[in-house]
């Protein structure tokens, strides 16, 4: 019964999946940096990293267009060095969705890292752990539930991304037309049946992800293992 919704749905899942992965890596890195290292301008950087959450997606999309366009500093460099063009491609949609979803992972990761008892990391050091081992054996496992919950919210957010994606990647059916953009197009075209179907699919996915994220957080060490 999903029928012609399959194409935008799969494209959305692909874009959201890659975007979440990018946001996850960057979010964990920045979350750890800001949780652990004190430096001048830390809270200003925090505000800047949170900005994509509150800025209008169209503004973000505009920035990305300026940056990644053929004449933009990053776009021109990518074109010359690697022959890569991101504008009006699904990869461009990934970049847009990753930027919008990033603060959700970053905020969750920073909070999760700050929540860890530093004595646990010290215990690791006194047991002879290298700093790498402390991170992968102690810090990351303990922060993982919070980070994962943030990543799931980021996935849901990336899945629903509309404004920035439309500006960067456009609405090419089968190539860059994601679920949320397909809904807009269906409504514009007066195709209520298609719109209803797509809206229900999007709603169900978001609810499932939110419930799952809640369960992940509840199952965290925070509750189960605090003593």
């Amino acid at each position: 019964m999903i029928g012609d919704a399959t194409v935008p749905l799969l494209l959305s899942l692909k874009v959201a999946g890659w975007a979440t992965l990018l946001a996850l890596v960057a979010g964990v890195a920045f979350g750890y940096l800001l949780a652990r290292v004190r430096f001048f301008g830390r809270e200003v950087l925090d505000a800047a990293l949170t900005l994509p959450m509150v800025m209008p997606p169209t503004v973000l999309g505009y920035y990305l267009l300026v940056l990644l366009g053929k004449r933009g500093p990053v776009g021109a460099w990518l074109q010359e060095s690697f022959g890569i063009n991101l504008i009006f491609t699904w990869q461009g949609a990934v970049v847009a969705a990753a930027l919008v979803a990033f603060p959700l992972v970053y905020k969750a990761a920073r909070a999760a890292f700050e929540d860890i008892d530093t004595n646990l990391e010290r215990a690791g050091r006194s047991l002879g752990f290298s700093e790498t081992k402390v991170f992968f054996r102690v810090t990351l496992p303990l922060a993982w539930h919070g980070i994962l919950a943030g990543a799931m919210l980021a996935f849901a957010r990336a899945l629903g991304e509309f404004g920035a994606t439309l500006m960067v990647a456009g609405s090419l059916p089968g190539r860059t037309q994601t679920l949320s953009i397909a809904i807009y197009e269906a409504v514009q075209a007066g195709d209520d049946a298609a719109a209803n179907k797509l809206v229900i699919i999007a709603s169900v996915i978001c609810i499932v992800v939110l419930v799952a994220a809640g369960r992940v957080l509840q199952g965290g060490y925070r509750r189960a293992f605090r003593y």
């Binding site: 008892d117 646990l120 010290r122 050091r125 006194s126 047991l127 060490y221 189960a224 293992f225």
Partner: protein, 248 residues
């Protein structure tokens, strides 16, 4: 064991200033650092373990320099060979008892334990009577079991010195007394030098051969057992210790 400890460390927090300034040498295998909370005991121990770098001074064990400000020597905690038992034990909540004890013995990315390491974990489990709890998580343990796990974890690495931060403070009073005696037995068995900090005078009676008293960041007393009854400076608690009672 020969321990040389000269530490100057300034701390500044919300306009309040605290200076730790201690200088001591000892040859004893059972040093107890005693003092009220906030005196700088924990900070001293953290400097010794390598968690905190002093601003100035020198720390050496058996002639091996661990920290020397003048020569910019600061051996990282992981290379000091110093075991640490935290006040709340700081067991890894995501690892089982056996996992906690074996954590320091794992090799490489696959986290493998070789035969020697596995035997070491078994020894520790047996020694601390934790065999039945090997697959339990710290949250499922009682206070005494947590303490035994923390000791087993620290000793699995064969440290040359064991540091203990208020090791009995988190236990019930009844259990506390029993664990003290178990602990003395253990110390004799391992012949392991230790530095213990406490604000409980009862710990001194059982555990100390050498006593260091720190108040407000300064070393105010340093003496060998048996400890004097009369204390010239106003350390009322010491009179209680010498009298065999407990502080109010």
């Amino acid at each position: 064991m020969q321990l040389e400890l000269r530490i100057i460390k300034d701390l500044q927090a919300r306009g309040r200033h605290f200076r730790l300034d201690v200088d001591m040498r000892t040859d004893s295998d059972a040093v107890v650092i005693y003092g009220p909370s906030g005196a700088g005991k924990s900070l001293t121990l953290q400097c010794l373990a390598g968690f905190v770098a002093p601003d100035a001074g020198r720390i050496a064990i058996d002639g091996a320099t661990l920290f020397e400000a003048a020569q910019r020597i600061n051996v990282p905690a992981r290379q000091r060979g110093v075991g640490y038992v935290f006040q709340d034990y700081a067991l890894f909540p995501h690892l089982t008892v056996a996992g906690n004890i074996g954590a320091s013995l794992q090799q490489g990315w696959l986290r493998r334990l070789d035969d020697a390491a596995r035997a070491r974990v078994e020894d520790m489990l047996r020694l601390f009577e934790l065999q039945d709890l090997r697959d339990s998580y710290p949250s499922q343990l009682s206070g005494g079991q947590r303490q035994r796990t923390a000791l087993a974890r620290a000793l699995a690495t064969r440290p040359r010195l064991l540091l203990l931060d208020e090791p009995f403070a988190a236990l019930d009073p009844g259990l506390r007394e029993r664990m003290r005696h178990e602990f003395v037995e253990l110390r004799e068995r391992f012949k392991l030098p230790m530095v213990l900090i406490t604000h409980d005078p009862a710990d001194l009676q059982t555990l100390a051969r050498e006593l260091v008293v720190i108040e407000a960041g300064r070393l105010v007393r340093h003496e060998m057992a048996p400890f004097q009854a009369e204390v010239p400076q106003g350390a009322t608690a010491l009179r209680v210790i010498a009298g065999g009672g407990r502080a109010a």
